[in-house]
């Protein structure tokens, strides 16, 4: 609320647009970002029911190129980018030698190599880690940070495809989930990816930072008949939580391995040597000691990040994220529990303001989007 002693926060190319739209700007991962424009719940519902527009230009874009781009990327991440055709993408992670998660990210196979899109909070760590691995393994590959010159704008929601269709000649119907294609949107060259972090259909548009305001304005204007609203990081968080998607710093961290976070399917132990493989193989063999679970509160209280969880009266784990689900209208949360205590239907207690409140373990995700109409 005050301008005093504000640290030098980075601004996305859309900063002035957010301020003009009345956004509440907050510090996030070293950036000044819109947390909401008017109402988090309203923005959340806009994405579930129509289309919301997010500025994600704070995220990191790192391009891997060169003769050994594939060999290097394969060594660095836990998934297998060797299975990607041009235009395909996959969710993945960077792990350290102990199997701890350095970041979760998306790997896109592009015309000129592999594009890694990472969390803003981990951008520097990802770059350092990739550089160290590249030197260590003597790979003939380049690691290029394109974050500063890349803007990322994401229309997300059931009407996102209709909206985008009015601004591009790309055949969106043939652009499947986790696919990307270069093309123009509103006359601006973009990498158009059908990816997101909301649990809805939607797109992530990567463009030159100098064209970001033009692209943003065009989407806002064309989106009006579709009920589009700009959406901030507040609704992004509630949307991803309902969709059961982990957030680095909450569900994921260096002290968490992918198997604990229900992300074992992402790890391809049989692809050959890669960073963290030995540690991950032994976790896979023995089974994770703890597991990420979904909780719905049965007593009237909201579980929040850091709250203790009890099983049979004894402290057993911690809540990683929690809020009132705008879609379900009830408090939801994710938490780590000992593997033996984790199981759908299991009852636990969350300590809210020094008192235990009952919660039940439920299947993740909390929300799944309705299947598109057939025909």
């Amino acid at each position: 609320m005050t301008d005093a002693a504000a640290p030098t926060l980075l601004r996305t190319p859309l900063h002035d647009r957010h301020v003009a739209l009345g956004a509440r700007m907050v510090p996030y991962a070293g950036w000044q970002m819109p947390v909401q424009y008017a109402s988090i719940i309203d923005e959340h519902r806009t994405v579930r029911g129509a289309v919301g527009l997010f500025d994600l230009s704070h995220m990191g874009e790192v391009q891997i190129a060169g003769v050994e781009a594939l060999a290097f990327t394969r060594y660095a991440v836990v998934s297998d980018p060797g299975s990607l055709e041009p235009g395909q993408a996959q969710y993945s992670m960077l792990c350290d030698a102990d199997g701890g998660i350095i970041d979760d990210l998306i790997v896109y196979r592009t015309d000129d190599g592999y594009l890694i899109v990472c969390n803003a909070a981990n951008h520097a760590a990802v770059l350092d880690h990739l550089e160290a691995l590249r030197g260590h393994g003597d790979f003939d590959a380049t690691v290029e940070d394109r974050s500063e010159r890349t803007a990322l704008i994401a229309p997300q929601g059931p009407r996102a495809a209709e909206l985008l269709g009015t601004l591009t000649d790309l055949d969106l119907a043939s652009l499947g989930y986790y696919r990307s294609q270069r093309g123009t949107v509103a006359g601006i060259d973009c990498l158009v990816a059908r990816t997101g972090y909301t649990g809805e259909d939607g797109f992530e548009l990567f463009c030159d930072a100098r064209r970001a305001t033009r692209l943003w304005d065009a989407l806002l204007e064309a989106g009006e008949p579709f009920g589009l609203k700009p959406c901030g990081l507040g609704s992004r968080d509630t949307l991803r939580l309902e969709a059961g998607m982990p957030l680095y710093g909450n569900e994921l961290g260096r002290d968490v391995n992918p198997y604990e976070a229900n992300l074992g399917r992402v790890v391809k132990l049989d692809k050959g040597e890669f960073m963290g493989r030995a540690a991950l193989a032994s976790v896979q063999q023995a089974g994770p000691a703890r597991k990420l679970v979904g909780l719905v509160m049965r007593d009237t209280a909201i579980a929040r990040h850091g709250y203790a969880v009890q099983v049979d009266g004894a402290e057993a784990g911690l809540v990683t994220s929690g809020t009132v689900s705008p879609t379900l209208g009830e408090p939801i949360a994710m938490a780590y529990l000992p593997a033996a205590a984790a199981g759908v239907g299991g009852e636990v207690e969350v300590i809210v303001r020094d008192r235990p409140h009952r919660a039940e373990q439920v299947k993740l995700p909390f929300y799944k989007r309705p299947k598109p109409d057939a025909g």
């Binding site: 947390v35 909401q36 719940i41 507040g234 009237t300 909201i302 809020t323 009132v324």
Partner: protein, 125 residues
Amino acid sequence: MFPDDLRYSREHEWVRVDGEQATIGITSFAANELGDIVFVETPEAGATLSQFASFGVVESVKAVSDLYAPISGEVMEVNDALRDQPELLNTAPFEDGWIARIKLSDPGELDALLDAAAYAELTGG
């Protein structure tokens, strides 16, 4: 901007005095700063509030905040409507979004509160 007939605390609660009783709530400034309010926890009737001490919590989508009593006294009634409609704190903070009715234990405490003009100044109004 803020109703003239109320008194305000620096913690953004208001008091409407009616004889020996008072109604309390949070200000529109507080509600706006908190964002969408999804849960309110208050003591039940019979509980005793101490001026400027925490007496409950209000939770928005993103955060948990303490409620501080603007005045001391015994809780006579709490606003049951907030159980199902916590958003009343956003939509009508000075009317239907009232939080509790209190029997004042020391009306002299009102002197420690701000009038509307002073509160407007506090909130940059």
